[in-house]
Subunit: 202 residues, 2 copies
């Protein structure tokens, strides 16, 4: 029965399923300990099929991170219009994305990025993905702040410093979600939104 | 020569050396992949000696974390007097400890705490240590805020919420130290100090 269901998956769906299962695994174990065999078992496929789609674990991990990052930025793009009238504009859309994708997806992705960053020998492709994500975040915050200041909606602030502050705080929220033993991501983001609003009100 | 030097270590020094080397290892690898053999190699001792001091890896990891947490709280206690006159009081001492112990010690410790928190099956003793650390931090921030408000030095704030905000932000700073590819811990803590001061000024 399970096998029959599996047969009906088209390759795209099967790849999606593999990427999801891998993200789940690296969300609890360290990606360096997860084997292709573990992933195959979690997906109920054989290892040969895994190698049919991915040349090896490095390529698979890169695909997992690239897809997760893509989902986050797509979700953000889809929310920008709704938040046009919001005082925080695009930053509000960014926060909404984080709230919507928490705790599972974002937490796992942040953990994967941090695990890779702590490796003594880094995968340059993975590093490029991570740096690209942080640049995307920083750019959207800075440009929102600059536009708001230019329009006289926001008080004058050092946009680079404030963007870093907001980014670090989001990292802290996801990082702490598990280690502080409380899942309060949406609430913590609300606190950040309140603080940022008070900082920016003219 | 190395052997002769080693002979001169008293057991306490040898244990310190083992704990230091283990903290270094788990600061780059995940603690679940580090073996007793890896640790023995890093310390230039044989595995049997390691087992003479520690019953196994779990006990060793607990000792590593307990020592690191003890060093952080001792450093904080030793700084409290110097910061009596500081507007942020004990919170300033806590920040100074983080700045002094960054990036190596604190970053490794935060990584170890977060790796253990992400494990599907947690070591209850390790979890108790981590929760105790966060409670210590939260208590010191809350009591400083309460005392400052009672004395009329600080504006009225929700001390629990602000304590969580500060703690999350410190987590973010250490968490991001590597993944954002920039080592700016001291500077990031200064930013947090500035923001907190502005929040509290009557």
């Amino acid at each position: 029965m399970a096998k029959a269901a599996r047969q009906r998956l088209v390759p795209e769906q099967r790849i999606e399923m593999i990427l999801d299962a891998t993200l789940s695994l690296v969300g609890t174990s360290h990606f360096s300990v997860v084997t292709m065999r573990d992933i195959a078992l979690a997906c109920d496929v054989n290892v040969a099929l895994l190698y049919h789609y991915f040349s090896g674990k490095d390529q698979l991990i890169r695909a997992v991170l690239a897809r997760a990052l893509g989902q986050v930025t797509d979700d953000y793009e889809s929310r920008r219009d709704q938040h046009r009238a919001d005082f925080l504009g695009d930053i509000a859309a960014w926060f909404a994305t984080h709230q919507a994708m928490a705790p599972t997806m974002m937490s796992r992705m942040v953990k994967l990025m941090s695990d890779q960053a702590a490796q003594p020998i880094k995968d340059p492709e993975l590093e490029t993905l991570v740096q690209g994500f942080y640049r995307f975040e920083s750019n959207l915050i800075v440009s929102t702040l600059e536009a708001g200041m230019a329009a006289g909606q926001y008080r004058e602030v050092a946009s680079d410093k404030l963007a870093r502050f907001v980014g670090l705080h989001l990292d802290g929220i996801f990082h702490a979600a598990e280690s502080r033993g409380e899942l309060r991501i949406a609430e913590d983001i609300e606190e950040l939104r309140g603080l940022l609003t008070r900082q920016l009100e003219p």
